[in-house]
């Protein structure tokens, strides 16, 4: 009986939300083919505690790799160990996150195994011997249905797409040694710099407030940050024009060459809606646009548009959101 392996990404010793999304996607697949879900988690000693939560979301077995040199991402050792686990088991599919880490890891594992990989998928089905996935192409303007016939088939799931669902069970923990010495890896992550601990990531935030050139100056991003703070569960994004000008870090850029996001709510402030930007946010559930030019393309995709001076509208909206939140 074939099983599904899900790579459970952690940071700072904790599971990331996309780890639960990967296990959820794996659970659905395993139930379709009548197999088990094995979750793979690696990190510094103590990471085994993640097993309980992985069990809650449907992992039958949790493969735990603990090593002092795995506190930070160790691409060569992790790739070798995931590949060794797959080779030693009977896996129909391996599910990775499409994240900075997962996008680095998955192709390494695929090449070691000599199998097919499709990343950034929004749906996974089983059809006979093939895994059939949906994958946006041409900056999201076209959707491809792709058949993967290798065994196993490797898949990277798009963040915020496979909603974590509980399927509680007590997972069996299997300890595994790294397949290559983590201390001998050639590629070494020397340092990780994270923003403030409470800052939500663009890929995981339910609400994103984004700013564009209409803000006129870097310091005016405070309006965007204040609105994000009023929502409480929001991250701040930016257009390419703004990051190219150095108003914001490139890591905040949403668009064709930046982050692809699909939050519950996307608020575009002073953004005209260039194709390059729309490519990164058009799958958001609800889009709000605030812009002075009523002909701006952003209004073609906005569920709710307000035409006018953002310097008046945004503070008013911030106050109104705060009030609505206070009322509960």
């Amino acid at each position: 009986m074939a099983n599904i392996l899900a790579f459970a990404e952690t940071r700072g010793g904790e599971l990331r939300k996309i780890a639960l999304e990967a296990v959820t996607a794996a659970r659905t697949l395993a139930d379709t083919i009548g197999g088990q879900v094995h979750a793979f988690v690696a990190g510094a000693p103590g990471i085994a505690k993640a097993a309980q939560q992985l069990g809650e979301y449907g992992a039958d077995v949790v493969v735990v790799v603990e090593h002092a040199a795995l506190e930070k991402y160790n691409p060569e050792a992790i790739a070798a160990t995931v590949a060794a686990r797959v080779q030693g088991g009977d896996y129909r599919a391996v599910i990775f996150p499409t994240s900075a880490l997962g996008s680095d890891l998955a192709p390494r594992v695929a090449a070691k195994l000599g199998v097919g990989l499709v990343t950034d998928v929004t749906d996974i089905q089983v059809e006979g011997d093939a895994l059939v996935v949906r994958h946006p192409v041409n900056i999201g303007k076209v959707v491809a249905t792709v058949r993967i016939t290798s065994k196993p088939a490797l898949v990277g799931i798009r963040a915020n797409t496979f909603t974590p669902k509980q399927s509680p069970r007590t997972a069996t923990v299997e300890q595994m040694q790294p397949a290559s010495d983590p201390a001998a890896s050639r590629v070494v992550v020397k340092e990780v710099k994270l923003g403030s601990g409470t800052k939500l990531d663009l890929g995981e935030a339910p609400v994103i407030v984004s700013g564009g050139r209409g803000l006129k100056a870097a310091e005016n991003f405070k309006l965007v940050e204040d609105l994000a703070a009023a929502f409480g569960n929001a991250a701040v994004g930016a257009t390419r024009a703004v990051t190219d000008d150095g108003w914001r870090s490139h890591s905040d850029q949403i668009g064709q060459t930046g982050r692809l996001v699909s939050p519950q709510l996307y608020v575009a402030v002073g953004i005209s809606g260039a194709i390059q930007h729309l490519a990164g946010m058009r799958t958001s559930k609800t889009i709000v646009a605030i812009n002075k030019d009523k002909e701006a393309p952003i209004f073609k995709v906005a569920d709710y548009g307000i035409v006018g001076d953002l310097f008046e509208i945004v503070p008013a909206l911030t106050a109104a959101v705060k009030e609505a939140k206070a009322r509960g």
Binding site: P107, K190, L200
Partner: protein, 250 residues
């Protein structure tokens, strides 16, 4: 230093795509093509190393039909030294097949650096660079937005969710390039003239078996037409009401 840069020819995305009659590809009629953005930054990264060390050789490789020669010539016009076309009827979707063909060309080439864009605008799979590195047994660093090479050691910055990662690696290595590393130069007229005389070798692509194939392409459902609910700060109460009662996101 010897540097290879692998580039892809992709359609200009600023259009409304049509699905081809076979239902599994995009209708190419009327599309304009150019070098993939991320790949142009990879070419620029190589040329900036060459700017400092004139002895550096930059080889540009592209897999696809003969039309990719135009993309290779653009890189040559920017300043690369020679090109290689790995010829195939069409560019497959299977990243591993592409990686195998590129690795067989790169194997034994004596490259100190092999550069890729982090992903292509059309396939958007982002797997080929790291796969080539694995196939060649070389260190791989993906999605870098800052690069320093000092002797036989490199350091790179990677953007991760909510922060940055600083990575050290030995050369030779395979790197994939993210936004923010540089701005690609435009080919100058002198470069365009010189590019016509630079060598461009054509070889068959060794793709091998493919296990990843596109069976259907379709246009995503259109978003409902946009709606302007009002003007100025006076429209804010209505927006909040809609966010609470209709969209249920507040």
């Amino acid at each position: 230093m010897k540097i290879a840069v692998c580039v892809k020819r992709v359609p200009d995305m600023d259009v409304r795509f049509k699905i081809a009659a076979n239902g599994a590809s995009v209708d190419e009629a009327g599309l304009k093509f150019d070098m993939n953005d991320f790949d142009s930054w990879a070419v620029e990264a190589a040329l900036q190393i060459k700017d400092k060390d004139a002895a550096t050789e930059v080889v540009v490789i592209s897999l696809g039909p003969d039309a990719v020669q135009e993309t290779i010539r653009k890189a040559l016009a920017m300043g690369a030294d020679r090109g290689v076309e790995l010829k195939t009827d069409h560019i497959p979707f299977d990243g591993f097949a592409i990686a195998r063909a590129l690795a067989s060309e790169l194997q034994g080439g004596g490259y100190d650096l092999i550069l890729f864009g982090k992903q292509s605008a059309d396939s958007s799979n982002g797997v080929v660079g790291a796969m080539v590195g694995e196939l060649l047994g070389l260190p791989v660093v993906t999605a870098i937005s800052k690069l320093d090479i000092s002797g036989s050691t490199g350091t790179a910055k990677r953007e991760i969710e909510g922060g940055q990662e600083f990575v050290e690696f030995p050369l030779p290595a395979v790197l994939t390039i993210d936004q923010g590393l540089n701005t690609a130069r435009y080919p100058a007229l002198k470069g365009i003239m010189a590019a016509k005389k630079k060598p461009l070798e054509v070889k068959p692509a060794q793709l091998g078996d493919q296990t990843v194939t596109v069976s259907r392409m379709e246009l995503p459902p259109e978003r409902a037409a946009g709606r302007i609910i009002g003007e100025g700060a006076a429209a804010v109460p209505e927006l909040v009401r809609l966010l609470q009662t209709e969209a249920k996101v507040l």
